[in-house]
Every structure is written in structure tokens, then in C-alpha cells.
């Protein structure tokens, strides 16, 4: 067993047979001068071309390469999560396998982590992509993500990020969270820094993402916000939904029934019934909240565990 490397460079590949060799060379060229023990984790996300073979070949020649092969294509979040799982370094750097990120930036990301940050996010300030189909939707999405989650990052979509291994390994990553890792990690309260990084136009192959869909991003972000803010007190969240409804229901009911009763005028069926609908719904929402408490209690997520990841003890 070789000593634990200081740095792990995690690169997911999906049908990148042309990129994987140059990628390997570029990482080696960029990291070797830093003079630290490092490893590369290449995750092959069920590629249909020769990516897997080439990765194995590289692993044979270079003992620092660890090749993880998926049974089939599972998507980028899964690839990142697997890379993080199988990486052993103290600092983990993730990047895209399509050469659009520049490994030369790894050094400055690493320096930032040494300064004491838990997460360093790359910002592609001169992004080399199409304006309408890529840049504008991403601007909107980033603005929304920042607003809702309270983690204002200018470029969530940039794969080039560095993490303190001990922190990121404990953050659950699933479905399509790879765009929101910093937001997701915010449940542990990490110090996050942003760094300008280089960005190159695609050299090989095809871009794998079309127009990002704002609707999906919006729902995902809401989920993250709910989870980060309320996972440990779900009843509170459901109360927040339920109470305005109860108030609305009561006032409708009041206007439709109690008012006319006092004044001796005719009751209003639509108003009274709507009031009842809102009131009963608020009760059901409260019950949902109770159910959510139960779910959380039986689950395996504890806030204390997250606080441990980043805490400091001063004496």
C-alpha cells in the first residue's frame, strides 16, 4: 500500500477516447512540478467507445492512475460520487474529462485549500461556449441557485473544483446534484472560495449537454434548500406551508358563515366550502410534517455529524 496521496484528481469520462490521453498528460505535467504525492481517479461512466481500454492502458503504465469502470452509463453525478468514493487523497480536485478545464489551475486551487478553505470553486470567467444555448441559461440558473440556496456562486456548472476530502466524502451526492455540490455541502457550513480558472473550447467529441432546463434546476434547488434548511426539522417546514392555508381558510369561512350569521343575511356556500377545503388541507399538511419527522428520525442523517466535518476547537 503506497502512502496516502496528498492530492487526488478525479476525472469522469464518458465517450472521451480522444481526450483521455491528453488529459492524463496534462494532469501529470501540471501536478508533477508541485512535488507532492498524487493520484488520478479516472471514472469511466459506461462509455461505448475505447475509453475503458485506454484508461486501463494508462493505469498499467502509470501506478498513480486508478481506473474505476461503471457497469453502464449512470450520469455525471454518479461518476463524480464514485470518484470521490474511490479517491484517497487529502484534497480532491474534480474536473471535466473533455479538456475544457485546464489542469494547470490545480496548483492555485490546492493553494487555496491550504489557506483553510473547505471548498474552492472554479469560475470560468471567459467561458468558451455558445452564448444563447449555454451561457445565458447558465447565468439565469446560477442566479437562481444563489438566491434560493443562499450560496452565491457565479459558476455552479464548472466542474473544476477542489474539496477537502474529509468534508466532501461525508456529503451525500445523488441524482443530479453535481451542479449543486457547494449548495449541498453547505449543510456542513464549509468555507467556500471562488477562483478564476481558464476555460478552453472543446477540442474533441461532442458536447453532452443541451440547453439546461430551468424547470429541473428550479425543482432540484428547492429540494436542496428544503433539505439543507429543514431536513432536521421538517415539521417546521410543513407548518410554514400549513399555517397560511389555515389562516386563509379561517378567514374565508368567517366571511362566508360567521359574518352572515351575525348580520342575519344569507350564508355563502362557495366561501364557506372553500374555507373548509383550505382548513382541512392545512391539517393534512401538518400530518405530512409529522410523517416527515418520523422519516427523518428513522433515517441515517444527523446534523451533529455534519458539524463535526468543519468544526475547529480553540483552546
Amino acid at each position: 500500500m503506497s502512502p496516502r496521496p496528498k492530492l487526488s484528481v478525479i476525472v469522469p469520462f464518458y465517450n472521451e477516447e480522444d481526450s483521455i490521453r491528453p488529459m492524463h498528460a496534462a494532469v501529470v505535467k501540471a501536478v508533477e512540478p508541485l512535488g507532492i504525492p498524487f493520484e488520478m481517479v479516472f471514472v469511466n461512466d459506461g462509455s461505448k467507445d475505447r475509453t475503458a481500454e485506454i484508461a486501463l492502458e494508462l493505469a498499467l503504465r502509470d501506478p498513480r492512475v486508478r481506473s474505476v469502470r461503471f457497469r453502464r452509463n449512470y450520469g455525471q453525478t454518479a461518476a463524480m460520487a464514485a470518484g470521490i468514493e474511490y479517491a484517497q487523497g487529502e484534497v480532491l480536485v474534480t474536473m471535466d474529462g473533455d479538456l475544457q478545464n485546464d489542469p494547470a489551475d490545480i496548483g492555485q486551487l490546492l493553494a487555496k485549500i491550504e489557506e483553510g478553505y473547505h471548498i474552492v470553486v472554479g469560475w470560468r470567467f471567459n467561458r468558451q461556449d455558445k452564448l444563447v444555448s449555454r451561457k445565458i441559461p447558465s447565468k439565469i440558473a446560477n442566479w437562481m441557485i444563489g438566491k434560493i440556496t443562499g450560496v452565491p456562486i457565479r459558476d455552479n456548472g464548472c466542474s473544476l473544483k477542489a474539496y477537502k476530502g474529509s468534508v466532501i466524502k461525508e456529503i451525500p451526492l445523488y441524482s443530479e446534484m453535481h451542479r449543486f455540490i457547494p449548495a449541498m455541502a453547505s449543510m456542513a457550513g464549509p468555507r467556500i472560495a471562488e477562483l478564476k480558472v481558464r476555460h478552453h473550447a472543446r477540442q474533441f467529441g461532442q458536447s453532452k449537454y443541451g440547453l439546461s432546463r430551468i424547470y429541473k434546476v428550479l425543482l432540484d434547488v428547492m429540494v436542496i434548500k428544503t433539505i439543507v434548511a429543514f431536513a432536521s426539522r421538517p415539521l417546521q417546514w410543513f407548518c410554514l406551508l400549513s399555517l397560511p392555508m389555515a389562516a386563509l381558510g379561517l378567514s374565508l369561512f368567517g366571511v362566508g358563515v360567521i359574518g352572515p350569521l351575525l348580520r342575519g343575511t344569507a350564508l355563502s356556500l362557495p366561501l364557506a366550502a372553500s374555507g373548509l377545503i383550505f382548513m382541512s388541507s392545512s391539517v393534512i399538511l401538518l400530518c405530512d410534517g409529522a410523517l416527515a419527522e418520523l422519516v427523518f428520525k428513522l433515517g441515517d442523517i444527523r446534523e451533529k455529524e455534519f458539524s463535526r466535518l468543519t468544526l475547529e476547537v480553540w483552546r
Binding site: 493505469a59 501506478p63 461518476a79 460520487a81 429540494v223 433539505i227 431536513a231 372553500s274 377545503i277 441515517d300
Partner: protein
């Protein structure tokens, strides 16, 4: 005993004479040219079948019989059978004449390039209405899952042991084994098998059969759409219901404010509030689903790793492993 083929026959609601069935299957298994074993799982008390199996045992046949005290369903029966199996290759066969016993070889051979082989009865007997029904069912499933299968109802399958270990079947899921295996990243292959002469079904199925088919579609739909991203699914319904309700409310508000129509005598108000409330409820359910996933995210993985390779300088031993749930 790794090249043993374990043949599991779950005896559920529908069965033929086991003696004749066993003889037919045995002939097929013998043609494999490798060791095999038979495991019959009695799903509930089937006295006639039990007596016949006892006879077979007494006459010296090498079979294993597992008797369940009540009917747990075919999925459970299969899982119990797999537990008893010794071989690396498992074959499931229906307890009635559905495919020719001689087709077992084809299924096992298909495992050379796949992890699960499922039979497709072809050419298939049956009236035009039956064909239409079957085609519609599989078309619909294909639309939901993007997977094209022709005969999920076929009980003849061959699978590697690892498939049975990773997929825990319950309820009626034995009918979707092929879909579930594919979703878990296994290679699934359809194999054409000859239908048994006695599997001709010429009448029309009863309403129960249709209800079951419909439920199957529903189940698959949820398995595929719901289990990963509940809020995407419920949110879609919720947002549209909520939106329609909100539009109606806006219309009412405009009518009240500018055209002086009393809110009190507008029955549309009822519909609007119902829709708004319903939308919120859907949304809340979706969030509840997301919470369940989040609180169990550590236990489940979105991916299956086939192999991890690294070649350390010191020892040229290849470190490989398969991560399992």
C-alpha cells in the same frame, strides 16, 4: 461445483402435472452436458403436487423441494429457490408447459454475452385480440422505460447468481425482472424459445388479467419515474394543478375588483381552491419523497462499479473488486 446449473421451478397458482413436466425439463437439462439440479418451490400447500414430488423423491430423483406453508407469491418463491441453489447459473422455469424443455440450452448459452436471458415465445400461438393486447402492453412499457421487450410474461429465464443477489424481488416484480436487471446495469438479452404445444390459449382473459396488466404498467411507471426524483414527478402534477387553480383565482379576483361580481356567489371559487390545495398537497408529497431519499442516501448508491483497477509498482497484482450494495 461452479458450473452447476440450478433450475428453479416455482409452483404457484397455475401448474400442470409435475411428473410429465419434470421429465420434459430433465431431458432439456441433460442435454446441457453439465451438472444440474432441480429445485421445486411449493408456494403454498398444493397437496396433489406435493404428493407427486414425494413420489419423484422416493423413486430416487435428485430434486430439492422447498415447501412454503402459505402462498407468498411467485417473487418470494423464486427468491427462496435461488437461496437453495448451488450453481452459479440459475434457470427459472414455469410450473406448467409454457416453453419446450429442450430450450433450456439456448437460454444458458445466451449467458455467454449477457447476465440475464429471458425467453420470448416465438412463433407464438394466440388469437389476434391477444396479440394486440400483448403488443399494446409491451409498446407502452417500452415508451415508459425505453426498453423493448416482447414477452415479459415468459417464465423461462437464465441468470447469473449475482443478478439474483443484487435484485431483491417482492410483490409482483418477478414479471419485471428483465427491466429491473437492466436498470441495475446488467446486460439483458431476449432469446427466442419454442412455445410448448400445451401453452395454447385461445379464449379471452378475464377482467382480472387486464386489471393486473394495467397495474403492472402503473408499477413500472412508478419504479422508473418516481424512485429517483420524486419531486420531479409530483412537482410536475402539483405545479400544473396549482397553476390552474391560481389562474382561476386570478380570474375571480379580476371579476370581483373590476366588474363588481360578488365572490360569495361564485361556485368557481370552490374549484379554484380545490385545485390550489391539491397542487400544494402533491408538492408536499414530492418533498416528503425527497426527504426519504435524502435520509437514506448513504445506504443507496446510484451506480454500480464493475471494476476498479490500479497497478502499484511494488506488487504487480491487479486490485479489482466489484462494489455491491
Amino acid at each position: 461445483m461452479t458450473d452447476t446449473v440450478s433450475i428453479v421451478v416455482p409452483v404457484c397458482e397455475r401448474y400442470s402435472d409435475v411428473g410429465a413436466l419434470y421429465a420434459a425439463y430433465k431431458a432439456g437439462a441433460a442435454a446441457l452436458g453439465r451438472p444440474y439440479e432441480f429445485i421445486f418451490v411449493l408456494d403454498g400447500p398444493h397437496p396433489a403436487v406435493a404428493a407427486r414430488l414425494r413420489q419423484l423423491l422416493d423413486s430416487g430423483e435428485k430434486i430439492t423441494v422447498v415447501a412454503l406453508t402459505r402462498a407468498f407469491g411467485e417473487s418470494t418463491a423464486l427468491m427462496i429457490g435461488f437461496e437453495q441453489a448451488q450453481g452459479e447459473i440459475l434457470v427459472t422455469l414455469p410450473a406448467y408447459f409454457q416453453v419446450e424443455g429442450s430450450e433450456i440450452g439456448k437460454l444458458v448459452t445466451a449467458l455467454g454475452s449477457a447476465d440475464l436471458a429471458i425467453g420470448r415465445r416465438w412463433p407464438r400461438a394466440g388469437g389476434w385480440f391477444e396479440r394486440l393486447r400483448r403488443a399494446a402492453f409491451h409498446k407502452f412499457l417500452a415508451a415508459v422505460t425505453q426498453l423493448r421487450f416482447h414477452d415479459l410474461g415468459c417464465g423461462a429465464r437464465a441468470l447469473r447468481r449475482i443478478v439474483a443477489q443484487e435484485i431483491q424481488l417482492y410483490g409482483d416484480q418477478h414479471r419485471f425482472l428483465a427491466l429491473l436487471a437492466d436498470r441495475r446495469g446488467f446486460r439483458v438479452q431476449e432469446v427466442q424459445v419454442r412455445q410448448s404445444q400445451q401453452d395454447r390459449f385461445l379464449g379471452a382473459y378475464g377482467p382480472r388479467e387486464y386489471a393486473r396488466g394495467f397495474l403492472d404498467i402503473f408499477t413500472v411507471f412508478f419504479l422508473v419515474r418516481f424512485t429517483k426524483k420524486p419531486l420531479r414527478f409530483f412537482g410536475m402534477i402539483g405545479v400544473s394543478t396549482f397553476g390552474v387553480g391560481l389562474l382561476l383565482l386570478a380570474y375571480l379576483a379580476v371579476a370581483r375588483l373590476f366588474f363588481d361580481q360578488e365572490l360569495a356567489d361564485r361556485p368557481v371559487l370552490l374549484l379554484a381552491s380545490l385545485l390550489v390545495v391539491l397542487g400544494l398537497q402533491f408538492f408536499a408529497l414530492g418533498l416528503l419523497g425527497e426527504l426519504i431519499i435524502f435520509t437514506h442516501a448513504r445506504g443507496m448508491k446510484d451506480y454500480q462499479v464493475e471494476e476498479v483497477s490500479q497497478f502499484p509498482e511494488v506488487s504487480p497484482v491487479r486490485e479489482t473488486g466489484t462494489s455491491m450494495r
